[in-house]
């Protein structure tokens, strides 16, 4: 049983010693397998990035010039500028070169390289989603282990209830409600953007200004996201709670509190860790809604506008970048999980 259910560092060390030679080989193979899978996914994404957006209805030039007083020559000029007059295979070639050089071409709308646009907006998204992720993970895991440990208690019921309710609330709706109440009516927080139009020039004021703009979008994101961590952690702790090694720990005379924190929680964290990595990718992609509601100048908003454009190179660029992040995070999740949990190593 103890071999199946490693609980302490000692056991892990012991196992590592046992499996040392075969693990190395399978470890490399495992890693290569995962890397190969990720590479294949990436190639698929890159090809999909080209063809999916070509299948979409509508002519970018027609959409961009909608309601604009142009003659046929001007339209032809635009088609040529955007490279849309070239045959499809040539457009594909240009696109692949653009992807390979990581420049992704020039945005139709912003008239600048997609790579530099994504570079500009990337950190804004990381700031927003990073803060939200940390808060959601910390809050979710902490509430989850508490709820799981005291399964069935009032605390558990309240925690699970509220998190599930918030989870099922549409992000857009929740964001808009917060915006109306705390922005439009109470004037506590700004209603959009990342900085005031005339931001303060001193560093503290500047940070304060950004924080003020972050409060509502972060609350929205955390509220909608933390439930999944609560649920996973809760289930995981509940599972560990009845394990034999905890009885051993209790038998040693440890306080219940310590049994939970020292023994149960570290083991229960395993499934949560994978989930965290898998969700960070999704969280960045999920920023589209929150950034749109709160006019946050990040990748999500950029994508939203690329769709309304429609700005093909920009759409392709954000699509490839988002997909790459998700693929990378899943890869990390696989690797980290294997590193943390010997059970996967053995499998």
């Amino acid at each position: 049983m103890s071999a199946m259910m490693p609980s302490t560092g000692a056991v892990i060390l012991e196992e590592e010693g046992l499996d040392e030679p075969p693990r190395r080989v399978s470890g490399v193979r495992y890693l290569l397998g995962k890397l190969g899978g990720a590479a294949v996914s990436m190639v698929m994404v890159i090809l999909l990035g080209f063809f999916a957006f070509r299948i979409l209805p509508g002519d970018p030039v027609a959409s961009i010039t909608r309601e604009r007083q142009l003659n046929a020559d001007q339209v032809a000029q635009l088609r040529q500028q955007m490279g849309l007059d070239k045959p499809l295979w040539q457009q594909l070639g240009d696109y692949l070169v653009n992807v390979a050089t990581l420049s992704f071409g020039e945005s139709y709308v912003y008239k600048t390289s997609v790579a530099s646009l994504i570079g500009d907006y990337f950190w804004n998204t990381i700031l927003l989603t990073g803060t939200s992720a940390i808060l959601a993970i910390a809050l979710g895991l902490w509430l989850g282990q508490r709820a799981g440990w005291n399964h069935g208690s009032l605390f558990d019921k309240i925690t699970s209830g509220t998190s599930l309710v918030l989870w099922s609330v549409p992000t857009f709706w929740l964001g808009l409600i917060l915006l109306m109440v705390f922005g439009g009516t109470l004037h506590w927080f700004p209603t959009g953007g990342m900085l005031s139009p005339d931001p303060p020039t001193d560093p503290i004021g500047l940070v304060g200004d950004v924080v003020a703009h972050m409060v509502l979008p972060v609350i929205t994101m955390v509220a909608v996201v933390y439930a999944q961590y609560v649920m996973v952690m809760r289930a995981s702790v509940m599972e560990e709670k009845s394990a034999d090694y905890l009885t051993t720990a209790r038998a040693k005379g440890l306080r219940e509190d310590l049994v939970r924190r020292r023994h149960a929680v570290p083991n229960a964290l395993l499934p949560a860790v994978t989930l965290v990595f898998m969700h960070i990718g999704g969280l960045i992609a999920g920023a589209v809604t929150v950034e749109t509601v709160f006019s946050w100048p990040g990748l999500g908003k950029l994508t939203y506008e690329a769709i309304t454009g429609p700005d093909l190179p920009l759409l392709q660029g954000t699509f490839v970048v988002f997909s790459a992040i998700i693929i990378a995070m899943n890869l990390i999740a696989d690797v980290v999980y294997r590193f943390l949990d010997p059970r996967v190593r053995q499998a």
Binding site: L117, S196, K301
Partner: protein
């Protein structure tokens, strides 16, 4: 031992906050660096000028560039109206030509136009504005295709542009035209632009040298666009020194920003938002006669310029009697009242009533009222007999039409809900095809529709709008490419009248011809005009006042065919404007967040202590 346990949460909290900082700090630093650049760019005068001197406009508009030769999006185009003066400006009264850079102009045959510039005009960098600047601008557009992207259609009739002296510009046209050729083309400073290597790629988004009332000072994509007053503007420096466009992705956020006072002006409101803002303290709502028309576009049987039919339009609609029956069976009055909440004018043609000179008068003989009985009669006469299921048929074919509806457009969806039963009543079955706007524009181009909704913003001079409804603007390819036709309309009679009005210099005669053309188009029923929607705007009347409308009587403030809207505005009273957004809010928030964190940690520690005590 117990002591160390109590300390642990604190350590963990500290660890978490450090982790948070590690993630947040680089991004924050990157931002701080960005904004310090912005702060450097903004002159120190912005801090000394009172808050009320900056007029903030909520926007969600795309910016491709601020290069007047290539920019085609609405937001930059509207801003460029404020930055570069035209040779001839559209006046506020009714949009007719008025003094711009040119003091006066004359033409005898409509082919040669001679302009005399005003005295002592200066660019914002104090260089004199001369006829050479005008010649440079126009010639670039005529000679370099990449510089004709934005306004190339305005110079297609230009033969040559010359400057006999510093103050005179002579435009020679290929053929006579009644539309003043000096309109709508932003004139750029030659001394700046000729020094640029690749003018078509120049983004022109900072420290712009211009001639209009406001100059573009700085632009940060998706964050803000800042304009400052031009002290050299020929009518004098505007009273409000700064205009700032602030980005909001969705219009509900814009409304909230106006309510909270973060912005001073919002346009493009829905009737619901308009009603909700009505009565808000310090906010005035404004419903102005716009320059847009909205219509049902009917597939009249599309053909290319060479007469080759294309698309999949229903045969029945090729019959003008059927199209007229559809018009008779459509109650546009009800649509206006119910769908648009009455915020607009019933349409007659494709020239809105805000251009009162050109619009087809509502009392014109050809105008018909909603009359389902007459519609039925017309369909009977055309040989469409009511079948057992109430749907008319002729030669075994049922009268069924496809209506393309943009599922995201609430107005289109609502119109369809009224339209379908009205058509059912006269025996026409409408199949609503709900889809997205890109599919609709693709289908409109390829001709795969029977009816779809169409709309345009129209300029004060009707020439362009009339010109896209000609046989000569029909597509050249059977995929719908190579043309700019509005409804696929083609009538030799209409075309002949078009040429006539184009060369008619006597305005009242031209007006008659235009009315005749619109009446002809109305009778032919290539489209059924629904309404000229009002433009719904709202502004902080507790801070700003004195906007000039275009048309002056009941017109709009933003998106004018001119710069009058924001030219004449002024702060209400510097003392009463408390401003107060920005830094103080930030400081309060930092305080609140820090406070909450500290309280949280303390409570957490206390709870833990109690619990540990219980267990022990």
């Amino acid at each position: 031992m117990p002591v160390s346990h109590r300390k642990r949460p604190l350590r963990r909290a500290a660890f978490l906050s450090i982790a948070a900082l590690l993630i947040v700090a680089p991004a924050g630093a990157a931002q701080a660096a960005d904004s310090s650049v912005a702060a450097l760019q903004a002159p120190t005068e912005s801090t000394s000028s009172p808050e009320s001197a900056t007029f903030r406009i909520a926007t969600s508009g795309f910016v491709d560039s601020f290069n007047p030769f290539v920019s085609i999006y609405l937001t930059p185009t509207n801003i460029l109206r404020y930055v570069y003066e035209y040779l001839v400006q559209n006046d506020a009264e009714d949009g007719s030509p008025t003094k711009g850079l040119a003091d006066s102009w004359e033409t005898e045959d409509g082919t040669t136009w001679t302009y005399t510039l005003q005295d002592d005009l200066k660019w914002s960098d104090d260089e004199p504005i001369t006829a050479e600047d005008v010649v440079y601008t126009y010639t670039q557009m005529m000679e370099v295709p990449e510089l004709a992207v934005a306004n190339g259609n305005l110079v297609t009739n230009f033969e040559s542009v010359e400057a006999p002296d510093e103050k005179t510009v002579v435009i020679t046209l290929k053929g006579p035209q009644a539309t003043n050729p000096g309109l709508e083309i932003p004139v750029v400073p030659k001394h700046i632009w000729e020094a640029i290597d690749s003018p078509s790629e120049f983004v022109n988004d900072a420290d712009v040298v211009g001639s209009g009332p406001y100059l573009l000072e700085s632009y940060e994509a998706n964050q803000q666009i800042t304009l400052k007053a031009n002290p050299n503007f020929w009518m004098g420096e505007p009273a409000v020194k700064r205009i700032q466009y602030v980005y909001y992705t969705n219009s509900d956020a814009q409304v909230q920003a106006l309510r909270s006072g973060e912005v001073d002006f919002v346009s493009g409101l829905t009737p619901t938002q308009y009603d909700a803002l009505e009565g808000t303290d310090g906010v005035t709502v404004h419903s102005g006669e716009g320059r847009r028309y909205h219509s049902f576009s009917l597939n009249v049987g599309l053909i290319t310029r060479d007469g080759v039919p294309y698309g999949s339009g229903n045969e029945a609609l090729k019959d003008v009697e059927v199209r007229q029956a559809l018009r008779l069976g459509t109650d546009t009055k009800t649509l206006l009242d119910k769908v648009l909440d009455g915020q607009g004018v019933q349409a007659t043609s494709f020239i809105p009533t805000s251009f009162s000179k050109w619009t087809l008068p509502a009392d014109d003989d050809v105008i018909v009222e909603y009359d389902p009985e007459a519609a039925k009669q017309k369909l009977d006469d055309a040989g469409w007999v009511v079948g057992a299921d109430g749907v008319r048929e002729k030669g075994g074919v049922k009268l069924e039409l496809r209506l393309l509806v943009d599922a995201e457009d609430i107005q289109e969806v609502s119109i369809a809900e009224y339209f379908v039963p009205w058509m059912e009543e006269i025996g026409v079955k409408i199949n609503v095809e709900s889809t997205d706007s890109d599919t609709i524009s693709a289908k409109a181009v390829s001709g795969d529709y029977d009816i779809y909704f169409s709309g345009w913003s129209v300029n004060p001079d009707p020439d362009y709008q009339l010109g896209i409804n000609l046989c000569t603007t029909l597509p050249t390819g059977t995929d719908g490419s190579g043309g700019t036709s509005q409804d696929g309309y083609c009538s030799p009679e209409f075309d002949a009248l078009y040429e006539e009005q184009r060369a008619e210099l006597d305005e009242s005669k031209r007006q008659e011809i235009v009315h005749e053309m619109l009446a002809l188009n109305y009778t032919d029923t290539a489209q059924i005009g629904t309404w000229y929607a009002n433009s719904l705007e709202a502004y902080r009347s507790d801070r700003f006042t004195g906007f000039t409308l275009q048309p002056k009587d009941g017109g709009i403030i933003a998106s004018q065919a001119g710069y009058w809207g924001f030219l004449t505005m002024e702060p209400v009273d510097a003392a009463s404007a408390d401003g107060g957004d920005g830094a103080p809010v930030g400081m309060i928030v930092v305080g609140v967040v820090a406070g909450v964190l500290i309280i949280g940690i303390v409570v957490f520690l206390l709870l833990r202590r109690r619990r540990s005590a219980d267990i022990e």
